[in-house]
């Protein structure tokens, strides 16, 4: 089981999914209209490290985070 959390303004509770590779995530999230609108502008982190590829095996307890556009200061 892995967790997918939505940060900042994406008002969506954490998902728990049975997937074994990060490359399975796009199809699942694209099917959710509420989340799909954010995907083009979101960065992805696996266990709090930003990733540049979705080819990543997942293990039980992994945490995936979606980071929408930022504006600090």
């Amino acid at each position: 089981m892995v967790k997918v959390e939505f940060l900042g303004p994406i008002q969506k509770p954490t998902l728990e999914l049975e997937i074994t590779n990060l490359n399975e995530l796009p199809a699942i999230l694209q099917a959710d209209a509420e989340v799909n609108i954010w995907l083009e502008s979101c960065a992805v982190a696996l266990n709090d490290t930003l990733v540049s590829s979705l080819e990543a095996p997942l293990k039980d307890g992994d945490k995936i985070s979606l980071l929408p556009p930022v504006c600090g200061g």
């Binding site: 303004p9 796009p26 985070s65 979606l66 556009p69 200061g73």
Partner: protein
Amino acid sequence: MLNIYTGALKVPHILKEWYKEENSSNYGAYISFVGTVRSEDGIDGLSFDLYEPILYSWFHDWEEKAIKLGAKIKMAHSLGDVMLHESSYIAAVFSPKRRVALELIDEFVEDFKANAPIWKYDLKDNKRIYAKDRSTAISGSGLLAKG
């Protein structure tokens, strides 16, 4: 050093503390940047969410970069509501000579705006509205929209 405070920053206190911490460290330059909430578009203030694990690792990378240049970076940021004319952000660079500090503060603040995991909301008419138009997608965004 990165400090997160709930609500507005006590700017004179923080700048003074940072000065006291470093005034015998043999740095010749101390340059600070203070971000203050301006009155515009009828807002009552701003509000901030942040994601600490990635914020701290992003800041750590900058600390390492500064050390290689013989410099030191400090930052303070607000969490939650900050009202008009209060401050939500302070960044400072200490370095042996002015040129490194001037260049590093510019580079650091620009990267902060583009990549630090902080989300801004306008406080207006008792609502908290995501500042979408003023926000920037983090480098490498969009991976999940493909495939």
